[in-house]
């Protein structure tokens, strides 16, 4: 599929003010506000444009399957360090637009930390190119990173350049038995020490810890930390990254981002803890008081996302926490700067735009 097709589709939609629903593989259709608008299928705009292992970047068209990107990187012993979920066939454009990171986020950083450049089709059908392929670039506003997590509301991601990293030489996974409060205490304690912790996951009285790095560092940390080793750790971490682990089997499922040291909110249904304590997953009842979840998260300095839920509930007050008025006004103006007619993925991030 040629970029021209996307550009002319957006131009036509802009003229007729037709809302567009940008779609790659649809793997994250469940996420965010309800889907609306005519489908703009961008999955055909795919392929790796450039890959320079020694420059630590890869450039791919928006519709390129993540699996293809990762297979290419694996050939040179490299990876997308933020470990984005694939779900069912995710594309690189969707990965950046959704801004979801996986288990290694606690050590390596989030999607936005790895975006070096983007090419966008804005809401008027204009091609825009921001950032580039070098790691350090402070010329102009950093629009590329702004695009990460913007859920397609600012432009169609035509091409993206991501920083890549070498795969760790050694990895091991340790398991500890403890309750959630103890898990949070331990994770923060370990987090303040120079230990090569690359992922953590607590569920049902068990705390899994992944160590990655130089062989010597992993061995030294293993003997320092104790714990038990586990069978098939790769399968385990993959089930967390792809959320096939039973911990995520709940509807509605709430995703709470909190300061890592925050105590467990007084809510029922704690399913899992990730990212050194900063990410907590809760199951909630459909008929329960869902505002209570948002209030609890906010009172602890974080926020709650209604992550997976029936449409009826997502309709009620949106997937994401409300913004303070000053920030909402800025969001509206930025949206207008890139999509003056408001045709791109309306309502996907916030009902207002």
């Amino acid at each position: 599929m040629q970029l021209d097709t996307i550009v002319s589709a957006v131009k036509a939609a802009c003229e007729s003010r037709t809302p567009l629903r940008i779609r790659g593989a649809g793997s994250k259709d469940f996420y965010g506000g309800l889907l609306a608008g005519e489908v703009l299928d961008v999955s055909g705009h795919c392929g790796i444009v450039a890959y320079e292992p020694t420059e630590l970047y890869i450039t791919a068209k928006g519709g390129t399957p993540l699996a293809e990107v990762e297979a290419t990187l694996a050939e040179k012993g490299q990876m997308l360090a933020f470990e984005p979920p694939h779900f069912a066939g995710a594309t690189v454009g969707g990965c950046v637009a959704a801004g979801l990171s996986g288990p290694r986020r606690q050590q390596a950083g989030a999607v936005r930390d790895f975006v070096l450049g983007v090419k966008l089709v804005d809401g008027t059908g204009q091609m825009l190119s921001f950032g580039g392929q070098v790691m350090k670039n402070v010329a102009g506003y950093d629009v590329s990173r702004l695009i990460a997590g913007s859920l397609g509301t600012l432009g169609v991601i035509a091409e993206v350049t991501l920083k890549v990293l070498p795969r760790p030489v050694a990895e091991t996974t340790l398991v500890f038995a403890c309750d959630a409060t103890e898990a949070i205490r331990r994770l923060n304690d370990w987090g303040g020490q120079p230990l090569p912790i690359s992922a953590s996951f607590w569920h049902d009285g068990q705390l899994w810890l992944r160590l990655s790095g130089a062989r010597a560092a992993v061995e030294a940390a293993t003997s320092k930390l104790g714990g038990n080793s586990t069978v098939n750790p790769e399968k385990h971490w993959n089930s967390i990254r792809e959320q096939t682990h039973p911990a995520f089997a709940a509807s509605p499922l709430w995703r709470l981002a909190l300061p890592s040291t925050a105590p467990c909110p007084e809510l029922d249904g704690l399913r899992a803890i990730e990212w050194g304590g900063a990410l907590r997953w809760y199951a909630g009842e459909v008929d329960g008081d869902h505002q209570a979840v948002r209030v609890a998260a906010a009172s602890l300095g974080g926020h709650a996302v209604l992550y997976r839920a029936p449409e009826s509930l997502r309709c009620l007050d949106g997937a994401f926490a409300e913004l303070p008025p000053a920030l909402l006004a800025l969001h509206r103006r930025l949206k207008k700067a890139f999509d003056p007619q408001g045709i791109l993925n309306p309502g996907r991030l916030y009902a207002e735009f």
């Binding site: 630590l56 204009q126 070098v134 102009g140 990173r145 702004l146 997590g149 010597a216 300095g301 800025l330």
Partner: protein, 493 residues
């Protein structure tokens, strides 16, 4: 030095009267002798006197200053320690300088959560010093870290030796408190990851004071590695040293620091710091490894193997902390050392893909002949960020103009090689013309729309960072633009 800006014309008496309503006398400078120290930042070639300097002590005063300037249509240039190197904090002739020097308190260091809440006038190094008792530190370490402030680091998205492994400012700031030009305070980001909505933190960091005034910063602290050791390798050929950098990365190693100096830089610094550099080498590489003692030993062994295979003439590994610091001393002191051998120097800040390093250096050598000026090169080799130091004598007529043209050519070549006109110093006033080389009209228009979303009347740091299209059109007459490539022989991305 800049041409008058017809967009603004300030009634100083009216402005001063309004500011005096809420600013005590010691917080407001109006006399020329008091304003003089603020006429430039670290880039002294560009100077301008502001109408007034405000030194607020509270956020409420910042809010009142911005409200006043907004209602009177007066430009505002925020300023930290003034160590910037691109004229980003150069005052506006019709405007106010808003100095955040008195916002110098570390409000909180949270050991368990590994973060610090600081005011924008706190020096970069002071954060690491405050965190040291807990075995933590703040990773981004610009060379000026002893003096530069966190607010300035946020404005410029500063980097440093450690940023290859630990990231830039944008990777290490969790939350900022900002006051808009209308005088409205709001917070972006939080201590929890992935704040809801657009990633405004990424947009604000590196925005060169054009979008808002930062009054508080929460930074991430990271555990101090148990050990750091540095490998120093000398090469008889700059291209070989460049290849060695690529080989280290290809081997799957991300060093804590990877820096290079060319022969001219080594010759300038060795008499100054006596680090024991190989004076015959065409290039010296410094490669730092940090972590647990076991990890460092393993990495040093692998790096040494790669450097040997890449044709290093001599390899030395620091055997003590004192020796490690001595190896670094020359790289860290390169700027003052070059300052000793030339009356003036002009520091550039281009970023290129690492594989184009040798090409860039041979082009710079040719430019030395073309402009009749010497140039020493120090750079963050690991991330392709070059700092050529063009030596000139400001007292010689024509010298500065040649240095400026030399610098412009380096920046434009950086873009042609697939890089950027600035890696960490910012665009400021210095590289405003080269923005027209790196970006085409639609992107520049988009930048203006982003600016307008935050600052509709364009009062925050006007004339910096993003050029007007008019300016680009004028510059375009002298320099070939995007469509019409300046270096047609070079392969493009």
């Amino acid at each position: 030095m800049s041409s008058p800006d017809p967009a603004f014309s300030t009634d100083l008496a009216a402005l001063a009267a309004r500011l005096r309503l809420f600013l005590p006398p010691h917080c407001l400078l109006l006399g020329e002798e008091d304003l003089r120290p603020y006429e430039c930042d670290g880039l002294t070639a560009y100077r301008e006197l502001p109408l007034a300097v405000c030194l607020p002590e509270t956020e409420a005063q910042v809010i009142d200053i911005l409200r006043t300037c907004h209602s009177l249509g007066v430009p505002v240039v925020a300023r930290g320690a003034g160590t910037g190197l691109s004229g980003g904090a150069m005052p506006h002739a019709q405007g106010v300088v808003l100095s955040l020097a008195r916002f110098n308190k570390i409000l909180r260091v949270d050991r368990a959560a590994r973060l610090a809440v600081v005011q924008p006038g706190v020096r970069n190094l002071a954060v690491s010093e405050a965190a040291a008792p807990y075995g933590l530190y703040y990773a981004p370490d610009p060379s000026s870290q002893i003096a530069c402030t966190l607010g300035g680091n946020v404005a410029e998205n500063s980097g440093g030796v450690h940023c290859l492994k630990y990231g830039l400012t944008v990777h290490n700031v969790l939350r900022i408190r900002v006051v808009s030009i209308e005088g409205e305070a709001f917070e972006i980001g939080s201590e929890a990851p992935d704040a809801a909505g657009y990633d405004l933190l990424a947009l604000l960091i590196g925005s060169e004071g054009m979008l808002g005034v930062v009054t508080e910063v929460t930074v991430k602290l990271v555990p101090k590695p148990e050990l750091a050791q540095v490998v120093m390798a000398s090469f008889a050929d700059v291209a070989k040293a460049g290849d060695a950098v690529a080989a280290i990365i290809a081997a799957g190693i991300i060093p804590a620091g990877l820096e290079m100096m060319d022969k001219a830089a080594t010759a300038a610094v060795e008499p100054f710091v006596k680090a024991g550099y190989d004076m015959n080498a065409e290039a010296i590489l410094l490669c730092e490894s940090d972590g647990t003692p076991e990890e460092v030993a393993e990495e040093i062994a692998r790096v040494t193997e790669v450097l040997n295979a890449a044709g290093a003439n001599e390899i030395r590994v620091s055997q003590s902390e004192a020796e490690r610091l001595r190896f670094w001393a020359g790289r860290k002191a390169a700027f003052p050392a070059v300052g000793r051998i030339t009356p003036d120097y002009y520091c550039m800040d281009g970023t290129i893909p690492r594989k184009r390093l040798a090409e860039m250096l041979s082009s710079i050598a040719a430019m030395e002949t073309k402009y009749g000026l010497r140039c020493a090169n120090v750079f963050h080799a690991g991330d392709g960020n070059l700092h050529p130091l063009i030596m000139y004598d400001a007292s010689q007529p024509g010298d500065w103009e040649r240095a400026e043209a030399f610098g412009a050519e380096i920046l434009e070549l950086s873009v042609a090689l697939g890089g950027s006109i600035t890696g960490e110093h910012g665009v400021g006033i210095e590289k405003i013309n080269q923005m027209c080389v790196q970006y085409a009209t639609p992107e520049i228009e988009a930048f203006h729309r982003v600016k307008a979303a935050f600052d509709e009347t364009g009062l925050l740091n006007p004339g910096k960072a993003v050029p007007s299209l008019h300016r680009c059109a004028e510059y375009g007459r002298m320099h070939v633009h995007h469509g019409d490539v300046k270096f047609p022989e070079l392969e493009r991305f």
